[in-house]
């Protein structure tokens, strides 16, 4: 029964309802063209996978660097003569440090837990028929505290040994492995070049340092012994200071610098003839470098995401052409242009988000495997994952918009006639 008085509806399609409908339509359309949908999102999958995997590995590498550097000791300041950037005063070698400098730092600077001198020489260590080129570090007992070395076997230096510069040594695990494969070294005699010394202890393994060097490839001796028998002078090549974590290491660094300036007569505009390295700063710098590298490689990977987006647009455009008749049917049935547009847009977004999600899962699996293989910690960064996901959605919107608009602009009569 038709009521001739009832007017045609001046109404409009409700937007809230529209979204629910179009999501359903989009999901159905994706299901209808499953293989094509999978191929469409492949670019996004690979893009998200590459970006997230690379960034995760990069974060792991940064974290690993940080851990290794902090394994050197809580927070270590290394004072060296000369300037870091090599602008040392006109050919004059800056004077080495004296034992009195160490005493002054120990006595006058707040926040210092241990102060140790260092004099270094390279030597070939020989035991029985085996020999091994290593580094001899002359220092004091405080060095073990400053750098947080653990004694594995035997004992530390005694005061008497340090004062007298007795020929005794502590051996790093690398040296031990190479010279004492099946023998306890403590108590034996080790020859270093043409110097004989008694092994009084071995050091616990510490592993590779932040720069890839082997911390365990070392032999420690009282500094006076090294000065007398190896370097032939009373120079202290470096001062190792460990700072109390409760203090700001920048303050401690500044106090040491002030003290040394005073003691080395650096006044007015004269440049410092010594340099203080802060292990934490080095760690930060290294992390910074790793971060930059991660950023660059990540950006390259992000380009593949963009390419994936263009792939989506391409296939969506093909899809609009291929589905012209379908669009005609929808329009004839009473879909308004907005609904057709939204359907294609939602299809693109759903597809790219789906691709993003698959990429994230693959990246998670690959990252877990690769971090294990590369021996770096696995750092799950929710921020990176969220950004990658949102970005893939955004790509769907951006690259889906043009095809969607084209679909919505079709004339129903032409679309229905399309072969």
């Amino acid at each position: 029964m038709t009521d001739a008085a009832a007017p045609p509806p001046p109404g409009r399609a409700s937007t809230a309802r529209l979204v629910g409908t179009t999501v359903l339509l989009a999901l159905r359309a994706i299901r209808r063209h499953l293989l094509r949908s999978i191929l469409t999102v492949l670019g996004i999958v690979i893009g998200v996978f590459a970006v997230v995997t690379i960034v995760t590995l990069g974060k792991g590498a940064t974290e690993s660097t940080r851990q290794q550097i902090s394994s050197l000791g809580a927070n270590i300041l290394t004072v060296l003569p000369g300037q870091a950037n090599g602008r040392g005063g006109g050919g004059q070698t800056p004077p080495p440090f004296k034992f009195e400098d160490l005493d002054a730092i120990r006595g006058q600077v707040a926040g210092v837990t241990a102060v140790a001198p260092q004099a270094q020489s390279s030597a070939t260590a020989v035991h029985n028929a085996a020999n091994w080129a290593t580094t001899v570090n002359g220092t004091t007992d405080a060095y073990l505290d400053a750098q947080d070395w653990k004694i594995e076997d035997g004992r530390r230096f005694t005061d008497a040994e340090e004062q007298a510069g007795k020929s005794v040594c502590l051996m790093g695990s690398t040296v031990k492995q190479n010279l004492y494969p099946n023998e306890a070294p403590v108590g034996s005699t080790l020859r270093l070049g043409n110097v004989s010394c008694t092994v009084i202890g071995t050091l616990a393994t510490r592993g590779a340092g932040g720069f890839g060097q082997d911390n365990d490839d070392t032999v420690l001796m009282p500094i006076k012994a090294v000065q007398r028998r190896f370097t032939g002078n009373r120079d202290i090549r470096a001062i190792i200071v460990s700072a109390d974590p409760a203090y700001d290491s920048a303050d401690v660094q500044e106090s040491i610098a002030k003290l040394l300036r005073e003691r080395r007569n650096i006044t007015g505009g004269k440049l410092d003839d010594f340099t203080i390295f802060d292990s934490r700063q080095i760690a930060d710098t290294l992390s910074g470098i790793t971060n930059i590298l991660t950023g660059i490689v990540g950006a390259v990977a992000a380009i593949s995401l963009l390419v994936g987006g263009i792939g989506i647009m391409n296939i969506m455009l093909v899809s609009v052409t291929e589905r012209t008749r379908e669009i005609g049917i929808r329009l004839a049935i009473g879909a308004v242009a907005r609904e057709v547009m939204l359907q294609f847009l939602v299809e693109a977004v759903v597809l790219s988000c789906l691709g993003g999600l698959i990429g994230l899962v693959l990246a998670l699996i690959a990252s877990l495997g690769l971090t294990a293989a590369l021996n770096v910690p696995f750092v799950f960064d929710p921020w990176t994952n969220l950004m990658a996901f949102l970005f893939s959605g955004l790509i769907g919107v951006v690259f889906g918009y043009f095809p969607a608009r084209r679909a919505a602009a079709l004339n129903p009569i032409d679309a229905l006639r399309y072969e």
């Binding site: 007017p7 409009r12 009473g334 308004v336």
Partner: protein, 241 residues
């Protein structure tokens, strides 16, 4: 059920007054309709006949709100439709009109049920309402048992019946069919005609159908003959076809 007797029918459901349609412009312009006047009463079953190129499909597209006349008036239930915008026309189609095409035009790889549900989706019905209405429509065309089959698993006649179910699922006032039997053999064609007749008789749906075959036009109550972009003559009742 109002019968379209001239004496008792005050206002026609649809009224075309001096409708012209011009395609293209300048040299290439083509005048497809040259001033069509036509009244269609509610509940009528009208066949549209005429030689190829005489403007049948053009008229159907205008009546179906898929296209607009170049000049002239188109009244639906006494309201002027000719100047409505795209979206307004889409909403009119959604609410009042159903389409059946020569080429069936079902969504491929989509079950009969989902095809029939489609107009309800755009109307915003909830899932249960959609299902109930779609199954009822499929029942009317005798295809409930085929609800879960896709078009490629259905014969041409069955596909056209699914298309009819899709067209009537929204309970439209008017069913527009442009050569609905054009792709079917005569036996299938007769089935479709019987179905359209039943819908017209039992549900009062106004049916407008383009056909080339007098055999099909014989089912109609009114037959409109087109020639050269104009209505040549209208015959009613026993005089039809």
């Amino acid at each position: 059920m109002s019968q379209a007797l001239p004496s008792s029918a005050p206002d026609p459901l649809i009224r075309l007054i001096g409708v012209t349609k011009r395609f293209g412009s300048g040299e290439a312009a083509f005048q497809a309709l040259k001033g069509v006047d036509l009244d269609i009463m509610a509940g009528d079953f009208m066949a549209v006949m005429g030689p190829s190129g005489s403007g049948k499909s053009t008229t159907m597209n205008i009546l179906g709100c898929l296209d607009v006349p170049t000049t002239g008036s188109f009244l639906f239930r006494g309201h002027h439709i000719e100047s409505l915008g795209r979206d307004q026309r889409a909403l009119l189609r959604r609410r009042y009109l159903g389409f059946v095409f020569q080429g069936f035009n079902l969504l491929s790889r989509t079950t009969a049920l989902e095809n029939v549900e489609l107009p309800l989706l755009y109307r915003g019905d909830d899932k249960r309402a959609r299902r109930t209405a779609a199954l009822a429509a499929l029942d009317q065309v005798g295809l409930v048992d085929w609800a879960s089959h896709t078009p490629s698993e259905l014969s041409g006649g069955q596909q056209q019946r699914v298309a009819i179910a899709r067209a009537i699922v929204t309970h439209p006032d008017v069913l527009l069919a442009d050569e609905p039997t054009g792709n079917l053999d005569s036996e299938r064609s007769l089935e479709i005609m019987e179905l359209l007749t039943r819908l017209n008789r039992d549900r009062g749906i106004t049916v407008l159908m383009v056909t080339h075959e007098a055999e099909m036009a014989a089912f109609a109550r009114t037959v409109v003959h087109f020639r050269d972009g104009l209505v040549e003559r209208v015959t009613t009742g026993a005089l039809a076809a």
